[in-house]
């Protein structure tokens, strides 16, 4: 492995990234940097490429151009330092398995070939379930869990990865208020421990209260940086176009204004 690090001071560094699907660009010339120890949101309208951005960083979709480094090294060399929470709807929850078993899957990468999860792995998975408030559901069939509970199980699976950088794809989509609260609390705790948390988010209303770093995306990068600087009516209008016409201008002009109800992006 090369000893020279590329942009080692950044938790995530994305440069010139381009992804296309059937020769139609989904992401175009993305430059995106996230410093360590922040909670970053990626927002943008439907089809803006938010999930695709995460997936191309993790090598799940092929890229046409560009490069990505995590703490100075390419993803392949840093797998152990990355945790991933896919969209809840990306799997079939009727799969015959238990909540505890799904969480244990987060440890498969560390176990390597031929080794099976044992008592130690089960204990670790159990501790993660406890952290997300799901210890009582460890032996439950995953098909019998509610949407919010399924999301917590997915979060627990990422927690056992003991990563430095976490990627979450719409973890707050379709969950109840209690679960949303619990998820945000856990993510904040991770950030306070110095981890970096990068979340694809769909609810503009909560961006300012949950996150401290923001990327506004619509195929291209519209704006990025600390939330206070980036969350402006001008930037959101550039990203969302007419969909954001109902926005209250006053919300953005005064600094101390509370987060006003903003039209939901999805």
């Amino acid at each position: 492995m090369s000893t020279t690090l590329h942009e080692p001071d950044l938790a995530l560094h994305v440069e010139d990234l381009t992804v296309s699907y059937h020769s139609k660009p989904v992401l175009w010339d993305i430059d995106f940097d996230v410093p360590p120890g922040v909670m970053a949101a990626i927002v943008g309208p439907n089809g803006a490429g938010k999930s695709t951005l995460i997936k191309s960083v993790l090598g799940l979709v092929p890229t046409v151009a560009g490069h990505v480094t995590l703490h100075g090294r390419p993803y392949k060399a840093q797998r152990r330092r990355v945790g991933y929470v896919p969209q809840r709807s990306s799997v079939d929850w009727d799969f015959p398995t238990t909540a505890l078993d799904v969480v244990t899957m987060g440890l498969y990468g560390r176990l390597g070939w031929l080794r099976r999860p044992g008592r130690r792995e089960r204990d670790e998975a159990m501790a993660a379930l406890e952290l997300v408030g799901m210890a009582d559901f460890a032996k439950r069939q995953i098909s019998q869990l509610s949407g919010g509970q399924q999301q917590r199980v997915f979060l627990a699976r990422a927690l056992v990865q003991k990563a430095d950088v976490y990627f979450l794809d719409e973890p707050m989509a379709g969950v109840d208020a209690t679960t949303e609260r619990a998820i945000v609390d856990i993510l904040r705790r991770l950030r306070d421990e110095g981890k970096t948390v990068i979340v694809v988010h769909h609810d503009l209303q909560t961006v300012r209260s949950y996150f401290d770093w923001l990327l506004i995306l619509n195929v291209r990068v519209i704006a990025q940086g600390p939330v206070a600087k980036v969350y402006t009516a001008e930037h959101l209008r550039q990203a969302y176009g007419g969909q954001i016409a109902l926005l209250d201008q006053g919300t953005f002009l005064s600094e101390e204004a509370a987060a006003e109800p903003v039209e939901r992006a999805e």
Binding site: G59, K76, R79, V91, T97, V102, Q141
Partner: protein, 381 residues
């Protein structure tokens, strides 16, 4: 013929052992195919094995099992590849891709079959047995091939257990962990093709798909974990195979392959009906119970509302009024409430005209009605 005599018959021993091996390998691999929504890929591959069978025969010049199975494996895998390219590179959806591949390969197989039959080659006898299988023709040497394939498949599943599990449940997450997901998926698909090859002799290309799908579907109904599902599917496959083979031996002349399929399918039928939590009967029972509870709660809250409306906790409701309100006879439900001590069938005061007895809520009934009303709208809690 008694069962003991049956089991000492050399041919029947071969058939039973072959059927058991087939049930074992297709039960285990079918579980993964079904969970990965690839049951129909098995069907496509088994139909696509027919041209391979014929090509194997043409190349070898005789009905030699090795070359025939190799041919079947080759065209079966080719069909899977074609199908994958069709869906990846064109705008064809999976079901259409599977359908087209299946029929094109099967048509080629039938054309080749009739061509061989027209060649007047004496050794071609019974090549069409591969359509529906000819279990009685199973030789000891075939059993060794089938056993070898089964052993390799089971060893691979045991060694790559957690990888196969994760790839079947969440391939994206598996990729993010650095697992070679594409290779693991190819391996699972090739193993299904191997299972198809094992089954060619026994049940034939047309019915083989059922052998992949049925044990897994039946096992899914009863199991809560992948481990249980694989074991149960293997068990159902083996039992169905042996039962079908014995049945056909007892009733001389009935085809073995279809009997095996029918015995496995009857397990599916029973499982879909009876299995707890997932079975059809279980669902129906749960619905009936829920409806009964709903009606009893409705009548109880009606009594409560009438009492509230008249500002009289011991308001006496008339039977006819309750029947009219609910549009059906509420007598049975009311008697149930009475048995539980929630309502009383009290005599009316003698000076009051009207029916002799009326319904009155007990204090317990009032408490229960309030609990029911309070829980409304918080059903999911």
């Amino acid at each position: 013929m008694s069962v003991v005599e049956l089991l000492s018959d050399y041919t029947i021993q071969n058939v039973v052992a072959g059927a058991a091996l087939l049930g074992l390998v297709s039960g285990v691999l079918g579980t993964f195919a079904v969970l990965r929504r690839q049951s129909l890929l098995g069907d496509t591959m088994s139909h696509a094995a027919l041209p391979g069978v014929c090509l194997g025969f043409i190349i070898a010049g005789t009905r030699e099992i090795g070359s025939i199975l190799l041919g079947a494996l080759a065209t079966g895998a080719l069909a899977a590849l074609v199908m994958l390219m069709l869906t990846r590179m064109t705008r064809l959806k999976t079901d259409a891709g599977l359908g087209i591949t299946l029929s094109v390969f099967f048509a080629m197989g039938v054309v080749l079959l009739t061509h061989i039959q027209g060649m007047n080659n004496a050794s071609q006898g019974g090549l069409d047995a591969f359509l529906f299988g000819q279990a009685a023709a199973t030789l000891r040497s075939d059993l060794w091939i089938m056993g070898g394939i089964t052993a390799v498949a089971l060893l691979l599943v045991a060694a790559l257990w957690k990888e196969f599990k994760l790839v079947s449940f969440d391939p994206e997450f598996a990729t993010s962990l650095g697992m070679p997901v594409a290779w693991l998926e190819v391996l699972l698909t090739v193993m299904v093709a191997l299972a198809v090859v094992v089954g060619l002799q026994m049940v034939g290309v047309v019915l083989m798909a059922a052998m992949i799908i049925a044990p897994a579907v039946a096992a899914r109904q009863w199991s809560r974990r992948l481990e249980d599902m694989v074991l149960l599917a293997a068990l159902i496959g083996v039992a169905g195979g042996i039962f079908g083979a014995l049945l056909s031996a007892l009733s001389r002349g009935l085809a073995t392959g279809p009997l095996i399929i029918l015995s496995v399918s009857s397990v599916v039928l029973v499982s879909l009906t009876l299995a707890p939590e997932r079975g059809f009967l279980w669902e129906a029972l749960r619905r009936v119970r829920a409806r009964r509870r709903l009606r009893y709660q409705q009548v109880l809250t009606t009594l409560y509302r009438l009492a509230v409306h008249h500002d009289d906790p011991v308001y006496r409701s008339e039977q006819g009024m309750l029947d009219t309100y609910h549009g059906l006879r509420t007598r049975a439900v009311l008697s149930q409430l009475e048995r539980r001590g929630l309502a009383e069938w009290q005599a009316s005061p003698t000076d009051e005209p009207g029916p002799a007895r009326r319904w009155v809520l007990t204090p317990a009934g009032i408490a229960e009605a309030e609990r029911v009303l309070d829980a409304l709208g918080r059903e999911d809690a």
